[in-house]
Symmetry: D2
């Protein structure tokens, strides 16, 4: 059984484990105040071409999102999300548990645009309703689409003008930035967002997300919030070392390119077999529409998620590739799909 279920099925890139081993017996300060976190942060600031940001290390995406949103907003303020947004649907009410409403806006491609924000602002116009104060986007989105630079710029301008905080969930940021459709540089992000995070867990780390606070007004006392929400890892070095490894020779981008490449190989193969896709994505998630009978057969050898019913006979499935996806297994999948077609 080979898994295309997600991008966190394997452990970590071997160079990370090697670095953990080599530094293992050094004594370091706790709670992210060690020299590896310090070095990793310095390195990331270089990649971002921006010294004027604060960077904090987290263990996971939900932790990063809930800590940020809770720290950024006053009690009556709410965050706007696309109807597919992770914070809206797949975090067990983590944001609401910190007291804030997530306002859902219906979009067709996973992407929030200024018109959606305007609509939310227009609808929430007095103190009997929450006050929309923050926009949550992820890049890529939950359905694998990415923001083009102009789209992000338009959103950023609209948010600035309306004093709305723009936050980007980058759980799969590597995949977005390495997509062949992408025209955004990582160094654009401090200019275009108020805060964003660089996801490690889904791109080769054991665990780890690096939150980047760009807007000065969001920086104060931030470590208090991480501690309060349980996210301040005693051995913070473990995350620092990982980001150091991922970025010192730009492995981070290589791993993402590999993942995207494997997805594209799948896409071409599946297209050649005559199948269409639910969404036209260029990242490490693809959503082919496959006859149910063939899905059943594929499930005998591969694991993946059946994403959505299309009609009586067909469903969209989600295939996720990663830094660790083996190209022989991608080829095997395509071959098996081809054989099943002919039956």
């Amino acid at each position: 059984m080979y898994s295309f279920k997600n991008d966190y099925s394997e452990g970590a890139h071997p160079s990370i484990l090697k670095a953990l081993m080599e530094t293992n017996m050094e004594q370091e300060d706790g709670y992210g105040e060690d020299k590896y976190c310090e070095k990793a942060i310095k390195l990331l600031k270089g990649k971002l071409e921006c010294d004027d940001v604060d960077i904090h290390m987290f263990c996971g995406g939900t932790q990063t999102n809930l800590t940020s949103i809770s720290a950024f907003l006053r009690p009556h303020e709410a965050v706007i999300s696309a109807n597919t947004g992770h914070v809206l649907v797949h975090e067990t009410g983590a944001i609401e548990a910190t007291g804030h409403k997530v306002i859902s806006m219906l979009v067709d491609d996973g992407k929030l645009k200024p018109k959606h924000i305007k609509m939310a602002l227009d609808e929430h116009n007095d103190e009997h309703m929450v006050k929309p104060k923050m926009v949550y986007i992820s890049n890529p989105t939950e359905i694998g689409t990415i923001y083009k630079k102009q789209e992000l710029k338009d959103l950023s301008d609209f948010c600035n003008k309306n004093e709305i905080i723009l936050y980007m969930d980058g759980a799969r940021l590597g995949s977005a930035l390495c997509s062949k459709e992408n025209d955004i540089e990582i160094s654009d992000l401090p200019k275009l967002t108020d805060a964003f995070y660089i996801g490690g867990t889904k791109n080769g780390a054991l665990m780890g997300e690096a939150l980047v606070l760009c807007n000065d007004s969001l920086k104060e006392d931030f470590r208090y919030h991480i501690k309060q929400k349980g996210g301040l890892l005693a051995k913070g070095r473990v995350i620092g070392i990982q980001f150091l490894e991922l970025f010192k020779d730009d492995i981070y981008f290589e791993l993402a390119k590999h993942a995207n490449g494997m997805a594209e190989m799948l896409k071409i193969g599946i297209t050649n077999c005559g199948h269409k896709f639910l969404i036209d994505s260029y990242t490490n998630q693809i959503f082919p529409i496959i006859p149910n009978k063939i899905i059943e057969k594929l499930e005998e050898k591969y694991s993946f998620i059946v994403w959505q019913k299309i009609d009586e006979g067909n469903s969209a499935i989600r295939l996720v590739t990663s830094w660790a996806t083996r190209d022989d297994m991608v080829k095997a999948f395509i071959e098996d799909l081809g054989l099943l077609e002919r039956i």
Copy 2:
């Protein structure tokens, strides 16, 4: 500079890193549903001699405490803690952030006893005050003392009779169970507490705490709470593998014994130098009272925390040993202390 500041200065026991490497490229399910978590849980149940518990893996102690307390209590219910308790003082209001008051009871040795619980219950007697519903203890306590079996039994009986949940924070549980003063077996804990956790971070893991839910009424839907509070690690295997390594050959206890042994060596040496201690502890934390002038000199070569002012000329310092503490450095510390005395 050698550190006696805490027990999380180094990385992990080497066998853990080895196991992470050996299993690295295997594909596993996410969020703690992998086979290593499964095996670790089975192994722990064996050690606990109890199959009727639920075990969940966490990344850190504050995360474990806040998720548990928030899951166990209704909104108007509060948790009772000793005035030195970690949840009361050192978690940045993490418990209050989930909506619950922590009631502080003044104790002299870090340990809550039935009389303290009774006092809290007597004082909170109507709906204008919170309802005490849970007792938080840690073993060892924040100041290194441990519960004797009879003390724990008395507390357990009192809590049972009054329908109070008894929860034990085991961040340093290994050190307590391996103390030469200890008479509690790890297999006693499911009988004597409603929930407790086995701390890995401070006893040789990169990170990881294993929460054990003993009381059936606390088990339902628990994974929802972990997810909501941001504690469900995508690559849960990382914690599962660590607990497997720590317990399969009882390394966990060996490491704790080493830490305690190093503390005792320090204690004997410091006593021989003629110093007294703030508290008579038998775990991996000791609190000698040292003249300030000598403390200043020691700080040139060793790092540790100055815990408490005793009088104008003397302070108690905290020395913490760990699984990784080197005995040559312990000897060096004692020797240096002896030399400083003679000046």
Copy 3:
């Protein structure tokens, strides 16, 4: 300027003020433990033909809703609401501020039906999403429609079978129960819901809502929750006296009948002028569709809310009548509308 904006524009029914005056200098216990609350509760239990309920007095609807929902649910549990629901839209995130998600279900007539609950349950099927545990309905709904007995019974049966709490917001319960389309008795409610409240503020009281807890599992420690959320009025007598007055001679129902009657008079008059309605409601809220030009003229003499744009030339307005609405003003409104038509 005469107002059809809402049903809380005037003070209280005169008999209430009279009773407040007559009892004014009596000494009573505080916090709802006075004899008037006691009498009012006894009286209400009689009307409900059910002794096995707990009744608590509140000052307002949002307070009642947030206290109930927060007391009923565990942290990971969520409440299902129609997309028009008051708790979803018009309480400034009061429910989320207590930590709970409100799940929105799109309905066409303001009413949740079993199929909507089923859909919510089907969509929320693992611990990465909140757990739907409660259904919030209001009767009448936000758009003036009411539940028929069979509809409520079906919903109640479905909730029971699925261990879902059914809660009815009765801010305008009098208007629903006195609607000519209604076939529910107030004494049906303890059998068909787990909790509901009888709204006083919008039916002749200065302020006051009586929360009825029907399901035993929701009753324990409830006064703690009222106090914690700031809803325990020191002079609880003020609400007790009002409910006593409203129910001792069934004034409550008379006032609601008057309000409904005034709405019907408006409806007939407006229909006769040739206008249609957005929704076919039989309570004290009606939503006629009027040409914008006429709306502008009406606004010179009457205040009301422009509810929704219909097309370029027409909008739906909301007219609300109450226990205090004067029939001469209703007639005047119709007359003015008729005159404006002819221009």
Copy 4:
């Protein structure tokens, strides 16, 4: 049975009920946007000799406290209270339920002084602990003592210098300001505090507290918070009318003087009977120490709270007087006490 249990046993000052009646059938806007609230706010600003404050009406003290503290603080910030403080002990964890820790400081006379605040600041010095950001005092305190102007000034200066918000709970503010020991004017309060409230419930209103926001940084969006916490009364006029009545001819102060006078009469009478007091208070609460045998007898005719055990034979009781306390009953109490002495 005559009650000295509290100052909210009776209804409201008759002129309030009269005003409610006279204005009853006028149509007013809801939610505190009526002309009576507007007039009352203007009147209060005049009394405060300060136009640059925002004033909001609430139904009760706990509601006012929890809404304010929750609105003022960020999640990691905490409020400092005396160990006797109402928010610490007697609000069922209302503050913690909004996510904030209340830090308790041990004081001997109910009053926080700069040294206590300094101690709290010194103890909370990094991100592993909450950040003290607000000081909660009440005037008079829970035990009937009052702040002298210089004490309040010192506290205010210390808070300003340390960027701490100073908040005064004025549930019994009238009694403090009319105490014969008082040297504070109501118009001093906007200069000396960041926010405070003028309590109506305990000084002749049916219910009602007027929150005064003095510091500009606390004013923004405040109505959102009132609504979210359930405190925005639909018929806000009811509170506006009451404050208008209480302040238009300074009845508020007359009522407080009466209450204080009755307490002093009791004090003199009890002193003459040879009894001492637990605390030397000059407001409407006194705490005489009485032999238990006599207390038992008194309880046959008077209700009051037994406050604290003094020794085997004696207890302190709390006697509270109010705007409605009858002097014949005060005399009767003293006479009865005198008679009981002689037995």
